[in-house]
């Protein structure tokens, strides 16, 4: 018994169990007391409102949505929009961040100066101002009748950016991208998980291609099923009367937020990536060059992978932080998760339940991001002791 109490492992486990029990107790107590108090004021708790129709439309949705749809569905719309904006903003921030980081580490004085100027400008203007700024810019583009138009198929106008797309339902399109994203994640996992190390490279790349092929196929099936009947396969935007019809529309709200997140986040990511590039041992890069690898291969096979490993934990932090910035959607009227919850609180009451859904939603989404990326980080971590030269 004393031996058990002395064991560090047992003590740790017991301590953890103790904490967990204590917090569960607090949580349950709070819920019970809260409910009792609310009921004594005649307010009923519950999630029945999720089944009620909203009675109004939303500005932007990836799936069909109308006034007869429920609050529950509207929250799903908001969730999807938040994820869409989050992925768009983070992807843009990564591209911009990488380019600016490369500017900053290059030997070219002009590129250096551009990089520094970029970072010092956009890192120091609050994100909310940048969102307003881009929204103002995008809504001051010409009216649809005078829209800037490229090859009669892409239109920039104050009502949004229009480009050709397929005549499918929004749900089918989301499914298509979801299938691709899942396929990509499985592919990455398959490439880096150590349990697949033994498979020869050529077989591995063949399996990778098949995974992608299957994901693509499933996506295409979703597109075929979701095809809008009696329309041409490709929908090209055209000017009809005072507005542009058909095609795919990126609303100014979504565009402004995506650009703002990309530019603001890119400034932060650039500094992290720059630190990553600088942390790579000069010796490794020289060794790669001395083997006769071209500058591109030195960069893509040695410099970048080592830099990425050095800063991935910091990057994860920034991704989670940037993802939460999607809640700014409300300032320009983008129907994100935060906005649909706010609207629902106004329309349906049930503040506590809705705030609960909001917090739970962000907890789940952000924890998923960090869980997946932490696994990646673990899988690609350098093995053994490292000599830095």
């Amino acid at each position: 018994m004393t031996a058990l109490l002395q064991s560090r492992k047992f003590r740790n486990t017991a301590l953890q169990a103790g904490y967990l029990g204590f917090f569960l107790f607090l949580l349950i107590a709070a819920i019970v007391i809260g409910k009792h108090n609310l009921e004594s004021q005649g307010i009923t708790m519950g999630f029945a409102f999720l089944e009620r129709a909203t009675g109004f439309d939303v500005g932007f949705s990836l799936i069909e949505f109308g006034p007869y749809d429920t609050f529950g569905k509207m929250i799903v719309v908001g969730l999807l929009n938040t994820m869409f904006l989050g992925i768009l903003g983070i992807a843009l921030a990564n591209i911009i961040g990488l380019i600016i980081a490369l500017f900053r580490i290059s030997n070219n004085g002009i590129l250096n100066a551009i990089g520094t100027l970029y970072i010092e400008t956009f890192r120091n203007i609050p994100l909310i101002l940048q969102a307003f700024f881009w929204y103002a810019v995008l809504t001051h583009l010409p009216h649809p009748k005078q829209a800037v138009n490229i090859l009669d198929s892409i239109y920039f106008s104050a009502r949004g950016l229009y480009f050709p797309g397929l005549n499918v339902t929004g749900g089918a399109a989301s499914l298509f991208f979801l299938a691709l994203a899942i396929g990509l994640i499985i592919m990455i996992w398959f490439s880096i998980a150590r349990r697949f190390n033994k498979i020869p490279k050529t077989t591995k790349s063949r399996i990778r291609m098949s995974i992608f092929g299957i994901a693509f196929l499933i996506g295409c099936i979703a597109l075929v099923i979701g095809r809008i009947p009696e329309t041409p396969l490709v929908s090209v935007p055209v000017l009809k009367g005072f507005n542009i019809r058909e095609g795919i529309r990126i609303s100014p709200e979504l565009g402004a937020l995506g650009i703002a997140m990309g530019i603001y986040g890119g400034a932060f990511l650039a500094e992290i990536m720059r630190a990553g590039f600088l942390s790579v041992g000069k010796g490794q890069v020289e060794a790669a060059r001395s083997l006769g690898l071209s500058p591109w291969y030195v960069f893509s096979r040695v410099h970048l992978p080592l830099a990425f490993r050095a800063v991935l934990p910091t990057l994860i932090n920034q991704y989670v932080w940037l993802f939460k910035a999607t809640t700014l959607g409300i300032v320009v009227g983008f129907t994100d998760f935060f906005m649909v919850i706010s609207v629902s609180i106004n329309q349906a009451g049930q503040t506590l339940e809705l705030i609960g859904i909001l917090m739970l939603g962000f907890l789940v989404m952000n924890n998923t991001i960090s869980f997946v990326l932490n696994r990646v980080n673990k899988a690609i971590a350098l093995k053994g002791t490292q000599l830095r030269t």
């Binding site: 001395s290 083997l291 006769g292 690898l293 093995k383 053994g384 002791t385």
Partner: protein, 246 residues
């Protein structure tokens, strides 16, 4: 086509205003084994790093395997493929396995198919006597093993010339001999080698010529018997006294 592997003439190298190499003239024949020694900071590393253009020279000319080292970018990559380099701190790629370290450049720079590259890599890993470590990562190996992998990695490009920059000076004493053995066997096979090293036993055993450098100049060069037996220059004598006395 001459038989020279490396021809350096009237070469000067500056780091900013610091004159690091002064009027270097050196010809290395194919199959020749050169050992370069000299006090720390004398420019030994700089000299051999100029040969594969990890450092740029400002005056004079360097000709490697018939190609002039100039600003032509295509030339540089091509020369580097023919000139292997082994570094003091091994400089393996820590994110790749030993085998991948060896196959990376043959597959990318020489477009060799993967199975062929892997077979070749295994032959060279056997040659340096660590085939059983092929699937491990560099960080999981001892210093001596890492340096032997680095040699195998360089050999996988089938270079005409091998440059060594103090390959044993970062190693614990008991690992030095395993690396030197590999280097001796390469020398016996007729590899053209330029080695910066203070392993005088190695120099005696394999070198065709020993070069002594000091303050950016080649002070003296001679065959090992002469170099160690009857050094002409006073600076060489002092240097040899110092390193041979302990």
């Amino acid at each position: 086509m001459s038989n020279a592997a490396v021809t350096i003439s009237g070469m000067n190298k500056y780091y900013g205003s610091f004159h690091a190499l002064k009027n270097i003239n050196l010809t290395v024949q194919k199959g020749e084994r050169i050992v370069i020694c000299g006090p720390s900071g004398s420019g030994k590393s700089t000299l051999i790093r100029c040969i594969n253009k990890l450092e740029e020279h400002q005056q004079g000319s360097i000709n490697v395997l018939g190609t002039e080292l100039d600003d032509n970018v295509g030339n540089i990559d091509q020369i580097r493929r023919e000139v292997g380099m082994v570094f003091q701190h091994f400089n393996l790629f820590p994110h790749l396995t030993v085998l991948e370290n060896c196959t990376l450049s043959p597959m990318l720079a020489r477009k060799m198919p993967q199975d062929e590259a892997e077979n070749m890599a295994m032959t060279y890993l056997e040659r340096v006597r660590i085939p059983e470590q092929a699937e491990k990562f560099p960080g999981e190996l001892s210093g001596g093993q890492q340096q032997r992998v680095a040699i195998a990695r360089a050999l996988c490009m089938k270079p005409e010339v091998l440059l060594f920059d103090e390959p044993t000076s970062a190693l614990d004493p008991e690992m030095i001999s395993e690396v030197l053995e590999v280097m001796v066997s390469l020398a016996k096979d007729g590899m053209t080698m330029l080695c910066v090293t203070h392993e005088m036993g190695f120099a005696r055993q394999v070198a065709d010529r020993v070069i002594f450098m000091d303050q950016g100049e080649i002070v003296e060069q001679a065959a090992p018997e002469e170099f160690f037996g009857a050094p002409k220059n006073e600076r060489t004598q002092n240097f040899l006294n110092q390193i041979l006395s302990h």
